[in-house]
């Protein structure tokens, strides 16, 4: 026994921490179908299934890519830019605790996988209602590695931003700024919907939007609360701030809506929930509850302004991923640089508490992340477009993605539907008014 006690004890798996992280992982996975609901409500009825399917598609391809190489490139030791191949195909990812945590490495990998999945799904918001489903899946698979894994390595996996001391609690760098600025690039490469700027393109089901936002908020407690990887103080702080910040964003949004249009809108409220959750994502475990509430109000302002302004431009970044995620994530990352408090986070102070260098580290992340996300996504989509068209014909777009790509309708009435045997159906695979 005496001999053993001289050896430093390896970290042990902690039952309480593991129990919470199992639940948190499931909560975060639920956010992706919730996002599907949120997105599907915001687009026209004829594209409902396709929009939802982009989120389910993200679960499929991002999970497989993550297990194959994505996790390794993000979380294996490598260089400052990208991780190594040590954990490729989950080699060596087992029940021993992940370094720096008290949870099994396998569970750590699964928790991080759900982050990769929702980030890929978020980007789809820029290209819904026109991008072809096949090329989207190819894009999602490559993007999850070339953009998400790289940014996750920078911020979480021991990459250069983490080395410098940039604080990012739950993914302001890879998830929020990563998706938001990639969405802008994707919207520019894929181009606007054919009816954009000519017709009013309205949300077809506001209740989906509200329900989706509510489920996202619920899931976000696992997202932020789980990012401490334990039941300890940082996780508890982030969990509580995930309640406080979005509530303040909601109120601020109500006031902005009143000032602008004299009415408080429901879809505005759903958007405010997202903006608030995004704002507190990087800052959750680093700022006091009071400052988290201030962040809720502050984060509303730039995102609101861009959501009002963007539809007047020719950029059809359809579901405003840039405003809701990119810009709110940017706000949250910078906010840490001002208002972080050692007395709450045990790690670092911000400018207001006498540590100006923290703001510099945060600013670095706020510049480098958008630049990389935008450039890499732009080049990736351009490259895919060399091999296959990213979007279909105007006729297909007019018919709707559901019928063209999935052969189903979200709201099929069944009237006039004639039952055929599957064999016969396979032969008679023709669309309405096929020119051939």
């Amino acid at each position: 026994m005496i001999g053993l006690s001289a050896v430093p004890l390896a970290a042990q798996v902690n039952a309480g921490d593991t129990a919470w992280m199992l639940a948190a992982t499931a909560l975060v996975l639920m956010m992706t179908p919730a996002l599907g609901l949120f997105y599907a409500g915001l687009i026209r009825a004829k594209n409902t299934l396709n929009t939802f399917m982009m989120c389910l598609g993200a679960i499929a391809v991002a999970t497989v890519m993550w297990a194959a190489i994505g996790y390794s490139l993000a979380f294996d030791d490598g260089n400052g830019f990208i991780g190594g191949f040590g954990y490729a195909f989950l080699n060596g990812v087992d029940f021993t605790p992940r370094d720096g945590t008290t949870i099994p490495h396998l569970l750590f990998m699964a928790f991080q996988a759900t982050f990769c999945i929702i980030t890929v799904a978020l980007v789809s918001g820029a290209v819904v209602e026109r991008m072809r489903f096949g090329p989207f899946l190819i894009f999602a698979a490559l993007w999850s590695v070339l953009v998400y894994s790289v940014l996750a390595h920078w911020g979480f996996g021991g990459g250069w931003l983490a080395d410098k001391g940039t604080l990012d609690f739950a993914g302001g760098v890879p998830v929020e700024m990563g998706s938001g600025f990639s969405a802008l690039a994707a919207a520019l490469v894929v181009g606007a919907r054919k009816d954009y700027g000519r017709q009013a393109l309205l949300p077809h089901n506001a209740v989906y939007v509200l329900l989706g936002a509510g489920l996202l908020w619920f899931g976000w407690f696992g997202f932020n609360g789980g990012s401490g990887f334990s039941t300890g103080n940082p996780g508890v702080l982030a969990f509580t701030n995930t309640l406080l910040t979005p509530a303040c964003t909601l109120l601020a949004w109500f006031i902005l809506d009143l000032l602008r249009g004299r009415r408080i809108t429901a879809i505005g409220a759903a958007t405010a929930i997202i903006v608030g959750c995004v704002g507190i994502t990087p800052a959750g475990g680093f700022v006091s509850p009071g400052w988290a509430m201030a962040l809720g109000v502050l984060a509303a302002l730039p995102s609101y302004a861009i959501i009002v302004w963007r539809p007047r431009t020719r950029v059809d970044e359809t579901l405003d991923v840039l405003a809701a995620h990119g810009i709110a994530g940017f706000t949250g990352i910078l906010f840490i640089g001002f208002f972080a408090q050692v007395s709450w986070n045990g790690t670092s102070d911000g400018l207001l508490y006498g540590n100006a260098s923290q703001l510099g580290d945060q600013a670095l992340a706020a510049i480098a992340t958008p630049a990389y996300a935008f450039a890499a996504t732009y080049l990736l989509l351009r490259a895919i477009a060399l091999f296959t068209p990213l979007r279909g014909s105007e006729r297909e777009e007019a018919l709707g993605m559901d019928i063209v790509h999935h052969g189903e309708e979200a709201y099929a009435s069944g009237e006039g539907a004639i039952l055929v045997s599957p064999e016969e159906g396979a032969e008679a695979e023709v669309l309405v008014a096929d020119p051939g």
């Binding site: 009816d195 599957p422 023709v430």
Partner: protein, 114 residues
Amino acid sequence: MIGIVRPEKANDVLEALYRAEVRGVSMSRVQGHGGELDRVETYRGTTVKMGLAEKVRFEIAVSEPFVQTTVDALLSGARTGEVGDGKIFVVALDHAVRIRTGETDTGAVTPVGA
């Protein structure tokens, strides 16, 4: 006059009618079949041929001099050149009354202020 058009062209038709200064329009969603090929959809194990396609039906009452303009507007707004673009039926109208004023026939279908 009755025009049956593709739902995705309904906005183009409205725009064309507006440009042609035809102001009085009703529209409704209908389902129909006009000789186009059937669309096949699959829901789990169930495969169906959708025998009816969504269409939009415009009803427009116009005075004699406006008939050709209105037909032209419907054609320009609704045509894609593929089977399934729809039909225009021009039918005689026995009598029309504007409820607000009691004006009849041509007066009833002439836009206010025109």
